[in-house]
Amino acid sequence: MVIWTPAIVLGGIAALSAAGLGVAARIFRVDEDSRFRGVLGLLPGANCGGCGFAGCAACAEAIVRREVEPNACVLGQTETARAVASYLGMDLIESEPQVACRECRGGERAARKYDYHGFEDCRAAMLYFHGPISCDHGCLGLGTCVKVCRFGAIRMGDLGLPVFDPERCVGCGTCARSCPKGIISIISETTKILHWNRYTECLSPCRQGCPAQINIPKYVAHIKLGEYAEALLTIKESNPLPLSTGRVCPEPCNLACRRQIEDEPVAINYLKRFVADWEMGSGRRLHVPVAPDTGKRIAVVGGGPAGLSAAYFLRRLGHAVTIHERMPALGGMLRYGIPEYRLPKRILDWEIEGILALGIAARTGVALGGDFSCDDLRRQGFDAILLTVGAWRDRRLELRPAGRDPAGVVSATRYLGSFRGGDVAVRGHVVVVGGGNPAIDAARTSLRAGADRVTVVYRRGRDQMPANPAEVRAAEQEGVVFRFLTAPTRYVAESGRITGLAVQRMELDAADPVGRRRPVAVPDTEELLACDLVVEAVGQLPDLDFLNLPGMPPLRVTRWNTIEACEQTLQTEVPDIFTGGDCFTGPALVISAVAAGRYAARSIHYYVTTGAVPPIEERQTELISESLFDSIAGVSAKPRVHEPLVTLDDRLGTFKEVEGTIDEEDARYEAGRCLNCGTYCYDRDQELEAPAAGAESRA
C-alpha cells in the first residue's frame, strides 16, 4: 500500500511528461542541419553553460558553424572533443596545436596620422579616426591582445610588437578577436599550408614574386638573428626542396626586391641555400610537424618537384600518400634534367630521403598506362589522384632528312639524362640549339664531358633568352660560344652520321606591343657549322600518350598538349583527378612546380575532407602595383655578398658543384641587407628626420 500510491503518482507524472514530449517532438518538428544533430548528440547535454554558450544546442551550432573549436565543451574534455572533431572531419587543437601569430612586422614604421595619448587600448585608439597610424595592416602596439590573453602567452616585445609564446598559447583566439586591426590569426600548421596570398594582406614584394609564396622576410629575419632552424622551418612551410631550389632557382623573388631600388636585390636564394646546407651539415634533420592521420589515401603520379611537393604537403596535412614514378629514382627533372655540377645527386637524395621520412610511400619504375591505370588506383582505395607527370617529350626541329635522326643528333632531355653517372665521353665540337636553361645545361655539361668546343645557337638575341643570365654568364666564362640571332636550317650528314649544321642569320621584326618579337630569316646568310654532335634543346611538352590507354579517365588535352584542368583548383573534369606542374603549365621553373604541388595539395585536401574545393578570395596572382617606392629614403648602399663561385680551373673537366655556399658571416650580413618590407613599410638604415633637418638649417 505504502509503495503503490507514490509509484502510481510518479509513474503517472512521468508517463504524462514522456507522452507530452514525444507528441510535441513530432508535432513541432523542425528540420535542421544534420551535422548539428550529430554534434549535439556527441556533446554531454548537461547544459551547464560552462562553455559560455546558452546550452549545448547553442554550443553545437557554434561548432558546426566553426565559430569555436570542437573542444569548446569544458565538461566533455578530450573524449568529446575528439569525437566531435572526427565527426566534423576537423583537426583537433589537442593533436594539432594552433597558435596565435601576428602578421604585422612593425606598425611603428607606418606613417602616423596623429599622436595618441588616450587610453592604452587598441580598440579605444581605433575609435579616433581609425587609429593613429595610416597603415591598414599595422599594429598599434597598445597591447590589447596582451591584456586579454588568459594564458599569459603574449607579451610586448622590444620592437613594440606583441610576442607570442607558442608553449603557452592554446589557440583560444581571444587575442585575434580583440585585435581591432585583425592582424592576429590563429594558425595551425595545416592553415599555413593551406594558405595562399591575398591582395588584402600585408605582403612584401618578394613574397608576391615567389611562385611558392615563401614567407621570405620572415626567414631572412630569422637568419639575421641566427635562428637557422626557425628560418628553415619557415621555408619548409611552403617549399620542401630548399636544398634543390637553393641551388637552381632563378629567384623570381629578386626581381621584386625593393633593395634594388637603392643598390642590388638581397641574395635571397643564397640565404635559402645557406640554411638548407646548414641543416644538412648539422647531421640531423629538423622535425617537421605532421597533422594527425585523416585516413585518406592519395596517389601521386610522377615523382618530380611538383609530385614531391604535393606528396610532402599532403602528408603534412595528415593524408597517406603514395608516389608512383616511371623512372628508377625519384626527383624527375631535378635528377634527370639538371646536371650534377648544379645539383649534386647526393644532395638531391638527402632531400628526397627527408621528404619520404615523413611517411610517404614510393613505387618507382612503374609507369602510368603501362603498369597501372587510374582505375587500378581507385581500386586500391585511393581517394584522389594527382597527375604531375611533367613535360618529358622533347620538341624537335623539323630538319631531319627522311624523318630520321642522323647519328649524332640528340634531344636535350635524353642527352642530359644520359649523364647521370657522369661517365659518358663527348668529343669534338658540340652544337646546342636553343636558349633555355636546358640548352645552357647541355652546353656546360658537354664541356665537362670532354667536348673541345661548344657552341650555342639561338634564334633570338641575348636579352630574349629564357635561361638564367647568371648561368649564361658562367657558361661564357667557361668558354661556351654563343651564336645569337642564328637559326638552324638543315642537318648535313654523311653515311648517316652528322657532320655539320647549316644555320642562317635572323633578325627580330618590328616590336609587337603585346607579344614577343618574332625572328625573321635574313636571306642569303646560310653558313655551315661543322660539328660532331647536335643537341636539340628547343623546348619540351608533356608526354600524354598514356591517356589513350585503357583504364584511363577521359581527360581533355589543351592545344599546348597539356592536361586541361580548372585554373583555380587544379581539378580536372574528373573530380577525383587533379594535376599540376609542367604537365599542366608546360615547362616552367622548379619553384613553380613546388608551388603547384602545394596548390594541388590544398585542393585535394579540401576535396577529400569536405568534397568541394573552396576558391581563394582575392587570390594574389600579380604583383601589387607600387607607387610609393621610386626611391627609398634613409637607405644607404651596401653591396651584395659576392657570388660564391668555384674558380674556373676547378670547374672545367669535372662535374663538381660550381657554386659554393656562403659562409655564416656572409649570410648574417646579407640578411641584414633585407629591408624587412611590408606592403608599405620597410626598415631604414638610420633615422630619417634628424640629419635631414640639420642639413637644411645649415644650408
Partner: protein, 205 residues
C-alpha cells in the same frame, strides 16, 4: 505512435521503480527520522523548558489536531499526574515565514512556564533577536487563561524594536496554544494520561 509508447513506457517505468524504492526506504526510515527531528529540533527547547535531558522527554509525545492544524504536544507525568505540557505552534506573520515556538505550560498553576523558539527564518541580527533571553523572559508566569498581546495592540508585552513582525509572530503562536488549551485542555490531559497514542504525527520535513 509506437515510439511514443516506448517513451512513455521507459520513463514511467523508471518513475515507478524510483517511487517504489523511495517509498520503501522512506517507510523503513520514517520512525528514525521523526525521532531525529524531535531530538534535534524540539529536544533543545524541551530540555530548557523542563530542565531535563531531552531524550527522557521525547517519549511522552502526542499530536493533537484542532482547527485544521496539528500541534505536537509533550507532557510530563511525574507520579502519574499530567501536570505540565509543552505545545508547539507555528506563529504566523514573521518576516521570513513562520516562527515555530514551543510553549511550556503549568496546568496546576495555570501559568506559562516559558517560551522557546524551535525554528525561524528571521533576519540575523534583526528579527532573530526574538531568541534573546531578555525578550522571552516576558512570557514566564503569564496567565494561561487570557490571550496575550503586544503593548502596541494594548497588551503587556514589549516588542523588539525594529522586529515587530517577528514579535507579532511569537504572540500569534502563543495565542494559538492558549486557545487550544482553553478549548481542549481536558481531552489532551486525558489522552496523555491514558497513555493511548493517537495516530502518529505526520512528519513533514
Amino acid at each position: 505512435m509506437r515510439d511514443i509508447g516506448r517513451l512513455v513506457l521507459v520513463l514511467s517505468l523508471i518513475g515507478v521503480i524510483s517511487a517504489g524504492t523511495l517509498a520503501y526506504v522512506r517507510a523503513a526510515l520514517d520512525a528514525r527520522i521523526e525521532h531525529q527531528e524531535d531530538l534535534h529540533v524540539r529536544g533543545p527547547a524541551l530540555s530548557r523548558l523542563f530542565a531535563r535531558p531531552a531524550p527522557d522527554l521525547l517519549a511522552n509525545k502526542l499530536a493533537f489536531r484542532a482547527g485544521g492544524r496539528e500541534y505536537p504536544v509533550f507532557y510530563l507525568d511525574d507520579g502519574g499526574q499530567v501536570d505540565r505540557l509543552a505545545v508547539e505552534a507555528a506563529g504566523r506573520g514573521g518576516y521570513g515565514g513562520d516562527v515555530v515556538v514551543m510553549i511550556g505550560l503549568d496546568l496546576a498553576r495555570r501559568t506559562l512556564i516559558g517560551v522557546e523558539i524551535v525554528s525561524h527564518h528571521e533576519t540575523p541580527g534583526v528579527g532573530a533577536r526574538i531568541e534573546r533571553e531578555s525578550f522571552r523572559a516576558q512570557w514566564t508566569g503569564l496567565a494561561l487563561d487570557e490571550p496575550v498581546a503586544l503593548r502596541s495592540a494594548g497588551g503587556d508585552l514589549d516588542a523588539i524594536s525594529g522586529a515587530t513582525f517577528s514579535s507579532r509572530a511569537m504572540v500569534d503562536g502563543t495565542n494559538q496554544v492558549i486557545e487550544l488549551l482553553r478549548d481542549h485542555a481536558d481531552e489532551i490531559v486525558e489522552l496523555a494520561a491514558g497513555g493511548e497514542r493517537p495516530a502518529r504525527a505526520k512528519g513533514g520535513s
